[in-house]
């Protein structure tokens, strides 16, 4: 190829502008190595452009000495690295504080919920304690009852229903060793308002009734099990319905149950 044609094509001006392809650049480089006139042409183009561009700057450049100290340090790199780092840190900081605030609110709510739960648990605990106490009482009563039934010194006297209320029945457990009389009144109907049951100890010859007392808490006593004291040499027991407060002598028309003590 004719060198002058090559030079005059304008490829070298484009080479200096940096707009050629990689393969074109390599080709120009090769030509410069082989042909001094190509190299000189490139240097000349470059020199003209250096001169032109230099005059566009209205201000002179600073001396190289101002630049030299920055060459040994990695100044520019450090600067570019620190900036995003700070940003990252502050973003993380904000994110962390948002998380922290969220966490605080969450744990406050959690705390409130737990406190409510504790109150609920305490209430149900109190309630259960009351139930346990009730059960204990019931158990004690039952134990007492069983003790009475098993005791050798206690005599059972069944009282059967009488004309006033034939379906009625009652049981008397009489412990002569300590004069205690236990009445199981499960078989008696609830007394009408203003009336109470009165318990009588009887001797048969002659027929003498002795009041042992009235059953005032018949309705409220769930077990219908009552305790009386009886120091009499009773031969029979009877229960009558009397006006509240009891009567001096039994109203026989209102005799609900009656039973005699079998020979001892």
């Amino acid at each position: 190829m004719d060198i002058n044609t090559y030079i005059n094509s304008g490829i070298l001006e484009l080479y200096v502008a940096g707009v050629l392809s990689d393969s074109e650049n390599r080709e120009v480089y090769k030509m410069m190595k082989q042909h001094p006139e190509v190299l000189n042409e490139v240097l000349s183009i470059e020199a003209a452009l250096v001169k032109l561009t230099a005059h566009v700057s209205p201000k002179d450049t600073k001396a190289f000495t101002t630049l030299a100290p920055k060459l040994s340090q990695n100044d520019s790199k450090v600067v570019t690295l620190t900036k995003p780092k700070t940003n990252w840190l502050s973003y993380t900081g904000w994110a962390a504080s948002v998380l922290l605030a969220g966490g605080l609110i969450w744990s406050m709510n959690q705390n409130k919920a737990l406190e409510n739960e504790i109150t609920t648990v305490n209430t149900s605990k109190d309630f259960l304690e009351i139930q346990i106490e009730d059960t204990k009482n019931t158990l004690n009563e039952t134990k007492q009852l069983v003790d009475i039934l098993r005791s050798n010194s206690v005599k059972k006297i069944p009282l059967t229903g009488q004309t006033a209320y034939p379906e009625a029945y009652a049981n008397v457990y009489w412990d002569k060793s300590d004069d205690k009389l236990y009445l199981d009144l499960q078989g008696l109907p609830e007394p009408p308002k203003g009336k109470v049951y009165q318990v009588w100890s009887l001797t048969l010859n002659p027929l003498t009734p002795t009041s042992l007392g009235t059953v005032d808490d018949f309705v409220s006593n769930n077990s219908k099990f009552f305790t009386f004291t009886n120091a009499n040499e009773s031969e029979a027991f009877g229960i009558t319905l009397e006006p509240a407060g009891g009567s001096a002598s039994p109203t026989l028309e209102q005799l609900y149950t009656l039973g005699t003590v079998a020979s001892l």
């Binding site: 094509s9 650049n25 250096v50 001169k51 561009t53």
Partner: protein
Amino acid sequence: MQDIDLLVSQFQDKNERAFEKLYNMYSKSMQGVIFNIVKDNDIAEEVMQDVFIKAWHKADSYNAGKGRFFTWILNISRNAAIDKTRSKGFKNSGKNLNSDFFVDILQSPDNLDNSTDTIGIKKFVTKLGKACKEVIELLYFKGFTQKEASEELDIPLGTIKTRNRNCIQELRNDLL
């Protein structure tokens, strides 16, 4: 003239003296190219210094087989200047980025460089044809590719090549 290639290879071996010579040869040109983009003396000075520091640290990445040192650092300078105009601080500074060509800058009364050399250049630029001003502006100051320049000026690709050759010839006749 072949000294340049020697200086460049010494620069690549981290020779600070060689780099100083290259700086003295090209720093004002780069400051001019950068100024043509950022339109601010202090910013142009700062960006130019950053460009040379960057070039020093990236010396390994220059490959003589791929192009001239001048072309390499010209490319770094244009990119750094364009990056600067896109930076947050620059946008907030309210710079008026008018579309003045390098010729306008050369002829503006703000240009205080009144050396005989510059006066000569001013004279030359004044008589330089519009077509030449445009093609030199796009290819060397703005970094357009041949294709982009042909589209911008609406002239065939081949015409860019020959017109540019003729304009640079004119430049050489007057400046060298």
